[in-house]
Symmetry: C2
């Protein structure tokens, strides 16, 4: 049987190129995963995700999907792959993060979280077991532990208490999964999540605890929540020193193009973020030469291709002046073009990073390219 | 040299199948023209317009394009085809209709119209000559006379006065065009517009006047502005009785799928309307079997293809339940899918109508199919 994760090439330091194998196909790591919140990567057709963006895996959000279309519909559809017509791998988060960041009010105890929907204020309850049940019903190829994600900054004692509960919740997730198996005939792979805020000792405890649980992959949560970038890198570095080398590591909710490369350099294999799509809708484009604000007047008469180094058709088909015009005129197509561009760029970024890992010059390349990525064009 | 318009097959009554030839390609008539208001058919990529919707010609709006991106940019780009990267035919309206329907306030006299932009309230002036100049700068393959479009209902004397001014304005348009030629190297074809509200005697005078001007094609304006459908059909019928048979006839701003077929039956060759895109964005889909409101709960668990008789990939790739979910969740993709579907349906509708004209059974087919089109699904 094909192993879930195989390392193809390790660098002299922590970065590595690998392959994840799921029943919906292989994923070449390091990988960026576009976020398809409510069963749609905003403004992007599934065909474009596959053919133009070259996405290998996308995310679904348990919190959102549970509210709409609801699990009754999801199950009747035969799971999220069929519902949205996406036959490549999917990963779902557990709903934990959104419950804490989106819902109108929440009441947390050991059992789980009671919260009010951000859509209609209706009351819901989610627990480790309920999150697992929903994620079985969604049927993602990779699914996540139900955790509490602490904000930044977070008091030490609160962070410790929260982390300990996340660990107890992990046990309940694993217990549930052992007796409640896949319902759609394809294998689902479970990842636990390291917490512990920005405290090194807590992160160490959590990383060891999560490693001991011996699942097929591991995730780092509670970062990219407002802490300085250096803190994020420091914690990531400390945690990947502990997480088993032979299993994929997923850094949740990260980040900018330079965050992506630095994280890969710290031994991360998987990342996701709404930034490429959300910022696209606000006219911010990421490119190999830096960041462009497409509303800027400087593009008004620039009829050169949107991005001469871009990999997707929008980069060749549309000019900077045209896309600038669409943003100024508030045309839908502006958001569509920018979203395809940014996602295709992120996928190109991790593809090229992978090539440099295999070639053996990842760190030199990364340090040389990051100043370009941060340019303001 | 290829004639601008050739009739391939005439039915026993007024419907006919023809071919319009422009420097950007041929158009098989009868044809529906998607509206690309501000240099974008809303929510639709140019690639989708060509490959999935099979659009043969699209519209641009002079009023909108003149305000954004403005003609300085348009000229630097080398015209609208290059600006938006659309190499098939384009038609522009004259701006007359929008000045009267959109601008915040306007002051009309024989010379032209002073109006305030609907965007920023800035003051602008448009006259027959200025409209022609702008349309030369846009560079559409077919461009329209600057007319006054009367509302419905319209007092007889006002309608008469307005029509007479439209006729005087036509003379000024033609004079301008004779001394101010194309600027981008491809031929532009000018269409005058019949006005006269719902008054048969005025429409007769106008149709004769417009025919006498002896341009390569003719248009009927001032319909589909709120009058009963029977009035629209009656006037169209009376006007097409007068307009020369050997030139294409364009009915402006029409309409529903059944309006399209009835108009073709009355000898119309070209139509445009925002309905397929605007209604799409509000969840209304047109199909061969009738009209669907995609927000309707009845589609909640209907996992069958969006439209089994649809010609575009969205009809096969997405289910009714999925599209319903996207509309309920207010996802951008809902509007994108519905717009592609509706436009592809409109293009399929006129394609099949054309086949029946050539086959010789258009009228029987039309009368049989219209009740289906009007169904509420």
């Amino acid at each position: 049987m094909q192993k879930f994760f195989e390392i193809e090439k390790s660098s002299e330091r922590k970065a590595r190129a690998g392959i994840i194998t799921t029943d919906h196909g292989k994923i070449e790591t390091p990988i960026f995963m576009p976020v398809g919140t409510v069963a749609s990567v905003k403004t992007v057709h599934q065909r474009e995700l596959k053919d133009d963006i070259k996405a290998q895996i996308i995310l679904g959000n348990t919190y959102h999907l549970n509210l709409r279309p609801k699990m009754e519909i999801m199950q009747k559809a035969g799971g999220l792959h069929k519902f949205m017509n996406w036959d490549l791998p999917i990963l779902t988060d557990s709903g934990g993060y959104q419950v804490f960041s989106l819902s109108k009010s929440r009441k947390l105890n050991e059992e789980g979280v009671k919260f009010k929907s951000h859509i209609d204020g209706s009351t819901h309850f989610i627990s480790p077991e309920i999150s697992m049940k929903i994620q079985r019903e969604i049927g993602a190829d990779i699914f996540m532990a139900f955790d509490e994600c602490t904000p930044y900054p977070c008091d030490y004692n609160l962070a410790k208490k929260s982390m300990e509960m996340t660990h107890r919740w992990l046990k309940r997730c694993i217990d549930f999964n052992e007796t409640n198996k896949e319902i759609y005939g394809h294998k689902q792979h479970f990842f636990p999540i390291v917490q512990g805020s920005t405290y090194s000792d807590l992160r160490k405890i959590s990383a060891e605890k999560i490693s001991e649980s011996d699942q097929v992959g591991n995730a780092i949560g509670g970062l990219s929540v407002g802490e300085p970038e250096e803190e994020m890198y420091r914690i990531t570095d400390e945690v990947t020193d502990i997480l088993p080398i032979e299993k994929p590591r997923y850094l949740m909710g990260v980040g900018t193009p330079w965050n992506i490369l630095e994280s890969i350099g710290l031994g991360i294999d998987m990342m996701d973020c709404v930034m490429p799509t959300r910022n696209a809708r606000n006219a911010m484009l990421f490119t190999w030469n830096g960041v462009m604000n497409m509303k800027n007047k400087k593009w008004e008469s620039d009829f050169s291709p949107l991005d001469e180094f871009g990999t997707s058709y929008v980069d060749r088909d549309y000019s900077k002046a045209y896309v600038r015009h669409l943003f100024v005129a508030k045309e839908y197509l502006s958001k569509q073009i920018a979203s395809i561009h940014n996602l295709a760029f992120y996928l190109d970024l991790v593809k090229v990073a992978r090539e440099h890992i295999i070639k053996g010059d990842f760190y030199e390349w990364k340090d040389a390219i990051i100043p370009n990525l941060k340019n303001r064009l």
